[in-house]
């Protein structure tokens, strides 16, 4: 009966006991975790993303508390001494009271202070524009998905056409027509971004719309606005969050580029782009710090946001969920 080499049989046979079959399914369950904790956990799996988050938090704090931590108020002309201009990093001011850790620009402004204030403006403009674009784009996208038909076609066609043109061109056209100013920059940035949100939300909303909980809500005869905002929207959030994060970085970069080209914010409110532009001419004579340090600050901001956004995209991607 046995093949040579097999384990010996047990010998005695007992009567067959009825065996209840416990659920032999997959036993990979962990203790109950909320979606937020899972996402946070997945996010923290990447050290690079955590680094990005920490860096960005640091930058935002610097920007928020700029007046408190800057050695000098760079916009207060009374504090500037043109004799202090174009000093190297680490030099002292003429009256010996300040140390210019990152040097000064051609007007005698302390670069470190200018960077803090510049961050404020750059981040402020970027975030404001993104939030506005998010609100407008989401509303339009939801409207398109919810009402369908002609509304949908119209909104999406406009969005598609706009998305086929590069952002810088659209911004250029708008600024050439509207002129300069903070509000006009924000308008340009919003005009450039809204289509991303509209498209993303519409895509999610169309998928969610055919799911059962939506039918249930409709059966309960809930008003449309309630269905859309309380039921539909929260489920469309993950891709929106990813897009918004990345777009903040893009908005900041675009504003900096426009300011650099002289089309952006006016000189009275120098963002990082303008600081860099100011230093351009001095680079060839070796006074690199006027452009270099604001550039690094800009870089750090954008890179940190992109690191976070990248990881968020992987974490929130439903196709990569187990």
């Amino acid at each position: 009966m046995n093949l040579p080499g097999d384990a010996p049989t047990n010998g005695a046979e007992t009567t067959a006991l009825p065996v209840s079959a416990p659920h032999a399914g997959v036993a990979l369950g962990a203790p109950e975790e909320t979606p937020f904790r899972r996402i946070a956990g997945d996010f923290a799996a990447s050290k690079l993303a955590l680094f990005g988050l920490a860096l960005f938090a640091l930058i935002v704090l610097c920007a928020l508390f700029a007046p408190l931590i800057s050695p000098q108020n760079p916009y207060d002309l009374a504090q500037l001494d043109v004799l202090d201009s174009r000093l190297e990093p680490g030099s002292r001011s003429g009256d010996g009271k300040l140390v210019f850790w990152l040097g000064t620009d051609d007007q005698g402004r302390d670069m470190l202070s200018a960077i803090f204030y510049g961050l404020r403006i750059s981040i402020g403009v970027g975030v404001t524009a993104t939030l506005c674009a998010l609100a407008i784009g989401t509303t339009l996208g939801l409207a398109a998905a919810f009402f369908g038909g002609r509304t949908d076609s119209l909104i999406m066609r406009v969005a598609d056409i706009q998305l086929s043109f590069p952002a810088i061109l659209i911004a250029l056209i708008l600024l050439a027509v509207l002129g300069q100013g903070v509000d006009k920059i924000v308008v340009a940035l919003v005009a450039v971004q809204w289509a991303y949100y509209a498209r993303t939300v519409r895509g999610s909303a169309l998928v969610e719309r055919s799911k059962e909980y939506m039918e249930a809500a409709r059966c309960l005869a809930l008003p449309a606005s309630r269905i859309v905002f309380r039921h539909l929207l929260p489920n469309c959030l993950p891709p929106l969050i990813v897009v918004a994060t990345v777009q903040v970085a893009a908005a900041i970069a675009l504003e900096a580029t426009l300011s650099f080209l002289g089309l952006g914010l006016p000189i009275t409110e120098p963002s990082l782009g303008l600081l860099i532009a100011n230093g351009f001419t001095y680079m060839l004579s070796g006074k690199y710090w006027i452009s270099f340090f604001p550039g690094v600050a800009l870089l750090a901001t954008i890179v940190s946001i992109n690191l976070v956004g990248d990881q968020l995209r992987d974490v929130l991607n439903p196709r990569l969920q187990r």
Binding site: I173, L299, N306
Partner: protein, 325 residues
């Protein structure tokens, strides 16, 4: 296929009209057309004569038709600063910009494709991870800042490459190009690399994603089961599949390159359309601005159309339709 092209042409015409309307409204209705189209330094009599000459005293819709007719005839106004037709000014500068954009696109694809392929084949290796980290830097770094840094390193400190201008040009099929001479290449390298960075990052990421997806497909398993060498499996089977979406995206990006050339040309003083538009905006040479916008929009529409057609030609599933045997 023909139906497809015709339909796209019609769509493009609609978009072109819409854009021309937008530009027209922006310039004539929102801004003050007198300031925009007539040299503000002219005296009162000349201004009034110009107003009548340009038909600014006519109703708006009539002005639009005149505008369209002039545009169709190739007359987009005269530049204030140079006193030559705006269209001619732009067309003179176009070859420089196209040369820059083409060089940038070549760099992005020739360098990006192999790097992305490597990162896709060995995603967990040190090289693979570095390439991906590098690509994040590639599209995070603002183009203008990178340009400045390049100048600082290669022109100021090392003195290897010139910091501005275009090299000497020779005519190739009637178009002046500068890459045929060594000096021309020296001038072209930095601005082209600067412009290419964003796209390079994009190509790397696309190629990596495409490769990773392709490697999971059954046709790769089947190719290996046939005993084909790894080189052939990757070089022919995988590459041909991922190249189609990459070619189309890169093609579409060509338009973006031309737009971003504005920044690069400003930094490197490259005599192209982009520098022209910035200079014009700064001196308020509005006819040039209007002409530039219209030309760029047309260029974009043409690029989009060409890429769409290219896609349907390259992918046999689209080209030959789904004819079941």
């Amino acid at each position: 296929m023909l139906v497809f092209i015709i339909r796209r042409l019609m769509q493009s015409a609609v978009v072109l009209f819409a854009m021309s309307l937008l530009v027209f409204v922006g310039v004539y209705a929102i801004g003050n057309p007198v300031d925009i189209l007539i040299n503000p330094n002219a005296d009162q009599q000349d201004i009034e004569r110009a107003i009548r000459g340009l038909g600014l005293d006519k109703p708006l819709w009539e002005q639009y038709l005149v505008f369209l007719r002039q545009a169709a005839l190739g007359d987009l106004g005269k530049s204030f600063a140079f006193n030559v037709p705006a269209l001619q000014l732009i067309l003179e500068r176009m070859p420089a910009t196209l040369e820059l954009a083409t060089a940038a696109m070549l760099i992005a694809v020739v360098v990006g494709l192999p790097l992305g392929l490597w990162a896709g084949l060995k995603p967990d290796s040190f090289a693979g991870k570095s390439i991906m980290a590098g690509s994040i830097l590639g599209f995070s770094l603002p183009t203008f800042w990178v340009g400045l840094m390049l100048i600082m390193v290669f022109s100021v400190y090392l003195g290897w490459l010139p910091s501005n201008g275009r090299g000497p040009t020779t005519d190739l099929f009637g178009v002046p190009v500068s890459f045929l001479s060594w000096d021309g290449i020296r001038h072209l390298v930095m601005p082209a690399t600067n412009l290419a960075l964003f796209n390079l990052a994009l190509v790397i990421r696309l190629t990596r994603a495409g490769t990773r997806e392709a490697l999971l497909q059954d046709y790769v398993k089947f190719a290996r089961a046939k005993g084909l060498s790894d080189a052939r499996v990757i070089g022919v089977h995988v590459l041909k599949n991922i190249s189609i979406p990459i070619v189309t995206v890169t093609g579409l990006q060509f338009g973006t390159l031309i737009a971003f050339a504005i920044v690069t040309e400003t930094i490197f003083a490259w005599p192209g359309m982009g520098k022209l538009i910035i200079d014009s905006i700064n001196v308020l040479d509005r006819p040039v601005i209007v002409a530039y916008l219209l030309i760029i929009v047309t260029l974009f529409i043409v690029i989009n159309l060409v890429v769409d057609v290219l896609y349907s030609v390259l992918d046999p599933r689209v080209r030959l339709g789904d004819t079941k045997a």
